[in-house]
C-alpha cells in the first residue's frame, strides 16, 4: 500500500452541476430586464378614451404611431396645451408630412398602401388638433387611420 494513496474512495468527485440552473435563471432574468420592446418614450399624458366597437390592430409592422396629448409632469416647460409627439420628441403639425414620408421609406414598397396611422390621443385633447392632424394626413395621402382606444363602454368617457 502506497503511502500517498488516499484512504477514502479513489473516484474523482463529479463536478457539481447544481448551480447550472441558477446560472440559467440569472441569464433569463438579465434578458427579461434588459429587453426593451420598441416603444416610444412618451413625453405626454396618454390616457386613451374608451370604446367598444373596436377592431384589432394587428400587423404591428404596418402601423405608424402619432401621439398627442398634454405634456406630462416633467415637460411642463412645453406648455399645457395638447401637443403632438412623433417618435421620441414633440413635433408640430407641419412635421407630420416628413414623418410619414420617412416611415414609408423605411417599409418595403409593396407594403406602403397597407400602412395604417394609429392616432393615440389623450382623452382630454380637443378636436382642433386632431382635425389638423387629419388634414395633414390627407395631404400626404395616408388615409387609413385608427383611433386607438381602450376597451370599455363609451359611457365611461
Amino acid at each position: 500500500m502506497s503511502k500517498f494513496k488516499k484512504k477514502k474512495s479513489g473516484e474523482l468527485p463529479a463536478v457539481s452541476t447544481a448551480s447550472l440552473p441558477d446560472i440559467v435563471f440569472m441569464l433569463l432574468f438579465f434578458f427579461m430586464v434588459a429587453t426593451v420592446m420598441r416603444q416610444n418614450t412618451l413625453k405626454i399624458d396618454n390616457n386613451l378614451p374608451f370604446a367598444d366597437q373596436v377592431e384589432k390592430l394587428d400587423k404591428k409592422d404596418l402601423v405608424m404611431y402619432i401621439y398627442a396629448g398634454k405634456p406630462s409632469e416633467n415637460y411642463k416647460q412645453f406648455g399645457t396645451e395638447a401637443r403632438i409627439q412623433l417618435n421620441d420628441d414633440f413635433a408640430n403639425v407641419s412635421d407630420i408630412a416628413s414623418f410619414i414620408a420617412s416611415e414609408r421609406a423605411a417599409k418595403r414598397e409593396e407594403l406602403v398602401p397597407f400602412l395604417t396611422t394609429a392616432l393615440k390621443v389623450d382623452s382630454d385633447a380637443n378636436m382642433g388638433l386632431i382635425g389638423d392632424i387629419k388634414q395633414e394626413l390627407r395631404k400626404v395621402n395616408a388615409l387609413k387611420i385608427n383611433y386607438t382606444t381602450k376597451k370599455g363602454s363609451a359611457t365611461q368617457n
Binding site: 447550472l20 440552473p21 366597437q53 390592430l57 390621443v121 382623452s123 380637443n126 395631404k139 385608427n146 363609451a154
Partner: protein, 195 residues
C-alpha cells in the same frame, strides 16, 4: 471507515427544466395588441361635380365646443344616439329595401344605401366625446349588420368576420367573404365628417 457521503441528488437536469420554462414563456407571451376604431379619410382631391343629396337622407350629428350633442338640430343624450341612428338608417322611406324593418317614414331616409350620417365637430370638442359618438355610430351600423347576418345566415356579423380571419376555420372562405361583402352592401357605412 469514514462516514459515507450522502448520495447527491442529480441537479443536472434542473437547467433543462429552466430552459423548458423559459421557452414555454417565450412562446406563450403575446405582446398586447392595440385596438381601436378604423376610419378612412376622404381623399384630398375634390370632385367637381356637385352631388345632390336630399336633406332627408342626411342625419346630422353636431358636437359643439361644450361637448353637447345636437342630432338633427335637437339636443340628445349620448345613450339615445345609437337608437336614433338605427331608426334613421333602417327607415326605408321609399320601400325599396325589403329587409329593412324601419318605420317607413317618408320624412326620413329613403334606404340604407342612400342614408348618410354627417358628423361635425368644433375645434373645442374634446376627443373623448368625439370617440364616444363615433363609437355609437359605428355600433348602430354593426347592430344592423348583425341583425341582417343573423336573419340571413344564422350567424352574427362579428362572428362571420372572426371566422374569416381564423386560419383554422374549416368552412368555405370564399363563400364567407361573398356573404360578408353582401352584408356590407346591404348596410354600407356612409359616415361623412365635415371639416
Amino acid at each position: 471507515m469514514a462516514k459515507r457521503a450522502a448520495p447527491e441528488v442529480n441537479a443536472g437536469s434542473m437547467a433543462d427544466i429552466a430552459f423548458l420554462l423559459l421557452i414555454f414563456f417565450l412562446v406563450t407571451t403575446t405582446i398586447e395588441t392595440d385596438s381601436g376604431i378604423n376610419r378612412k379619410l376622404p381623399p384630398m382631391e375634390e370632385s367637381d361635380e356637385e352631388v345632390i343629396i336630399k336633406q332627408k337622407n342626411i342625419f346630422t350629428v353636431l358636437l359643439n365646443g361644450r361637448d353637447q350633442l345636437l342630432v338633427e338640430d335637437e339636443l340628445m343624450e349620448l345613450k339615445d344616439l345609437r337608437k336614433a341612428a338605427i331608426e334613421f338608417l333602417d327607415n326605408n322611406g321609399d320601400r325599396s329595401c325589403e329587409y329593412c324593418k324601419g318605420a317607413r317614414d317618408s320624412e326620413s331616409s329613403d334606404n340604407p344605401d342612400k342614408a348618410i350620417i354627417s358628423l361635425k365637430n368644433e375645434r373645442e370638442t374634446t376627443y373623448k366625446t368625439y370617440i364616444a359618438v363615433q363609437n355609437e355610430l359605428v355600433a348602430a351600423y354593426n347592430e344592423l349588420r348583425d341583425k341582417r347576418a343573423q336573419s340571413q345566415y344564422g350567424k352574427s356579423f362579428a362572428e362571420m368576420q372572426a371566422n374569416y380571419k381564423d386560419v383554422n376555420w374549416p368552412g368555405n372562405k370564399e363563400k364567407l367573404k361573398a356573404r360578408i361583402d353582401q352584408i356590407k352592401v346591404d348596410y354600407p357605412q356612409k359616415l361623412s365628417e365635415v371639416q
